[in-house]
């Protein structure tokens, strides 16, 4: 196996353990590791709101900048001071969650095929974020700002780009003019506008992008940052003085680490390091990806970038233009076009470049019901590698093969979630789908109607679905909150939905055990099983 892939998969295992550890206190739905992108947006909104206030009170002159910010912290600590501290800490938080978001997406191999656009548009945001952040320190013209401005100028001068050294702008007091401060303001406000533009691009190819975390998580994060602002408010260093070199600095290592790094290894080396990392990240989607020769146990838990099943295909004869696949597609790959055969009707169309091959559209299609009488079940939109008709045949065979004397259970799982194969037994039939969202709810009813005593559906926890919305749509469809919904007449006590990731197979077994106990406890079901045993 390729060393990079080995490293990624080994790290993925450790990361999953960390993520699962957070499930205990937060619950799967509020686990912050599954909302890193949304948390990044939250930090950005906090930066924007606090930044607008700070800009309103900032004296953008070389002489007045320090005084205006310092007085804000001392005389109006309860508002201006808190917002100033919040601005800094939100910037720190933004960089931290951005780094974690990048790491998580890399570990999960989310950078090739249909995801390359989001990956590629995300990489420049790293640079934008640091440019914004570093520029912010200059506006508060204290010794830390002086150090950062000088160090940045020296860093830029290491590249043979400018005829005159940028550093000459900081040689003496006379060189630092109001005009230079206008440049600082431009950097600190202009680049965030670029960042907004970049973020818009970054989420262009996903539908229902989470630009705000769940309220409880947002409140918890905001509360922790506010507590930090009160416990350790950000204060200015001494005013900048270009005749002396700043002494001991309370350096923000999260945002300004490049300066000490440049001092330690040289500015040229820092350029080479950061340039190499950025170029590698940009090229990653196009680097050759070698697929594993054999599917090892738990292969689905080790997503392999670059390997994608054939995309969804629309069958005009079975598509009635209901728009459910259009609404449910997590990657905006489905659009509606005029139907070629039916006047005034629409039909779904799949953009192959955007399609993730998740099958969620198949689960959304009302034509995917197995109760249809056609000998060969065909639906409006289907996955060529795992057609819905094949699933019905497998389910029929699986039900027929179950032990008639036992309580018969059916498990629908997901290739990317906890592995369901180990649950297979004489009384348990298991089916692993591309994504649980591929499961039409009518298959649950069909299984119960055709002999199963209970059905267990498993999905990825919280928003950790490999295809973003599979778990959410499945839960909503089964609960009757989303079309196509599970019909009212289906006895809910015979259905269990459990969320489990790879490595959490024990939870699946426990859920199956609880489902079995629940069904056994129900008098009607027990009687039914008894009848079957005697008959």
């Amino acid at each position: 196996m390729h060393p990079a892939r080995t490293l990624r998969l080994a790290s993925l295992g450790a990361y999953r353990r960390l993520e699962h550890a957070f499930d205990r206190p937060f619950g799967a739905a509020l686990n912050p590791w599954r909302h890193l992108g949304a948390l990044g947006f939250l930090m950005f909104w906090l930066l924007a709101v606090s930044g607008i206030y700070l800009y309103a009170v900032l004296d953008t002159s070389a002489d007045g900048a320090y005084r205006s910010i310092d007085e804000l912290s001392r005389r109006q600590w309860w508002l201006g001071g808190v917002l100033r501290s919040l601005h800094r800490y939100a910037a720190d938080g933004f960089v931290l969650v951005m780094a974690a978001h990048l790491l998580r997406e890399w570990l999960f191999g989310h950078y090739t095929a249909f995801r390359h656009f989001s990956w590629w548009t995300g990489v420049p945001l790293l640079a934008f974020a640091f440019v914004c952040a570093i520029g912010g320190f200059w506006l508060n013209w204290d010794q830390l700002g002086q150090f950062s401005a000088q160090a940045t100028a020296e860093w830029i001068d290491a590249l043979p780009l400018l005829a005159a050294p940028l550093t000459r702008n900081f040689l003496n007091v006379a060189a630092v003019s109001d005009r230079l401060f206008s440049l600082f303001v431009f950097v600190h406000i202009g680049v965030p506008l670029l960042l907004v533009f970049g973020l818009w691009f970054h989420i262009q190819r996903i539908s229902r992008a989470a630009v705000f975390p769940p309220p409880a998580l947002a409140l918890g994060t905001l509360a922790s940052l506010l507590a930090l602002t009160l416990a350790a408010p950000v204060m200015s260093h001494a005013p900048a003085d270009l005749s002396i070199e700043p002494g001991t600095l309370a350096l923000d290592w999260i945002l300004l680490f490049v300066h000490p790094l440049g001092d330690a290894v040289g500015h040229g080396v820092v350029w080479a390091l950061l340039g190499t990392v950025l170029v590698w990240l940009l090229l990653l989607p196009w680097l050759p990806q070698r697929a594993p020769k054999t599917a090892a146990p738990g292969a689905a838990s080790a997503p392999h970038p670059g390997v994608q099943a054939p995309v969804a295909v629309v069958d005009p004869a079975n598509c009635n233009g209901c728009r459910r696949c259009f609404d449910d597609c997590p990657y905006a790959a489905v659009t509606m076009v005029p139907h070629p055969d039916k006047r005034l009707r629409q039909m779904a169309r799949v953009d192959a470049d955007l399609c993730a091959s998740c099958g969620i559209c198949v689960g959304a299609c009302p034509s995917s019901t197995p109760f249809r009488s056609a000998a060969e079940l065909a639906t409006g939109i289907d996955m060529p590698s795992a057609p819905i008709g094949q699933l019905r045949r497998r389910l029929q065979r699986g039900l027929a093969a179950l032990d008639p004397k036992a309580l018969r259970l059916v498990v629908f799982g997901c290739d990317h979630g906890a592995q369901v194969a180990a649950l297979a037994a004489p009384d348990v039939a298991v089916f692993s789908l591309m994504c649980t969202g591929q499961l039409p709810p009518s298959f649950v009813e069909y299984a119960l109607h055709d002999g199963a005593d209970g059905v267990l559906v498993t999905a990825c926890p919280g928003t950790g679905c490999e295809f973003r919305l599979g778990q959410r749509w499945t839960a909503d469809r089964l609960a009757g909150r989303r079309e196509p919904h599970l019909r009212e007449r289906v006895p809910r006590e015979r259905l269990a939905v459990v969320c489990a990731d790879p490595g959490q197979e024990v939870q699946l077994k426990a859920a199956l055990r609880r489902l079995r106990q629940r069904i056994n406890a129900a008098p009607a079901a027990a009687a039914l099983a008894g009848e079957r045993a005697h008959g």
Binding site: F22, R24, P25, F26, G27, A28, R88, Y89, D92, G93, L96, F147, A151, E154, D157, A163, A164, P165, T167, R168, L171, N172, G220, T221, A223, S224, L225, L228, A231, A232, V234, L242, S243, I244, E245, P246, G247, T248, L249, A250, L251, D252, W253, I254, L255, H259, P260, D263, A475, L478, A479, R492, L495, A496, V497, V498, C499, A511, R514, L515
Partner: protein, 172 residues
């Protein structure tokens, strides 16, 4: 139907703890460990200038025959080469050579200013400085020199610049 574990008191406590850890990580690494760019007993010399050297060759008068061959709008009587001399600068501290640098003219035609920026750390205290600058390839020695005794306090920055209007090499 949904088999979802509920969050108990221990879970809430865990959340509180983890939010606290997040705040502590942000709070700590946004100011710690303290960083010192320059050792406490050190001072700093910044030698920097942005100066255009003398032309590498003299202007030549164009003959009437040559001028006649040119279009009317290009008949300048003097032809002056654009290329400038590189600038050589040397700095001695307490009699020992501390820096020697040759700055090439900027621009594709090498007709721009030559720029230099160097940082030099040295112990605070009194030092004898000797600065020499040459901006003309036609001369053998240094056209500009400056000797000075300076007393530098810890963390003090001494800027050595070049300004022809102020007599050449300046110390500030």
């Amino acid at each position: 139907m949904a088999d979802t574990p509920t969050i108990g008191p221990l879970g809430w406590l865990g959340q509180l703890l983890l939010y606290g850890v997040f705040a502590v990580v942000v709070g700590v690494f946004s100011r710690w460990p303290a960083y010192r760019h320059l050792a406490p007993d050190q001072a700093l010399i910044k030698l920097s200038f942005n100066h255009q050297g003398k032309p590498v060759s003299e202007c030549q008068r164009v003959s009437a025959e040559e001028l006649a061959k040119l279009p009317p709008n290009m008949r300048a009587p003097l032809r002056c080469p654009r290329e400038r001399s590189p600038i050589t600068v040397e700095l001695d501290v307490d009699g020992a050579p501390a820096l020697r640098h040759v700055a090439q003219p900027s621009g594709l035609s090498r007709d721009g200013a030559s720029a230099v920026y160097h940082r030099l750390q040295l112990p605070a205290g009194t030092h004898q400085l000797a600065v020499r600058l040459k901006d003309d390839v036609h001369t053998s020695g240094f056209g500009f020199t400056r000797d000075a005794t300076v007393t530098l306090k810890p963390a003090q920055i001494l800027v050595i610049d070049f300004d022809p209007e102020k007599g050449g090499i300046t110390l500030q």
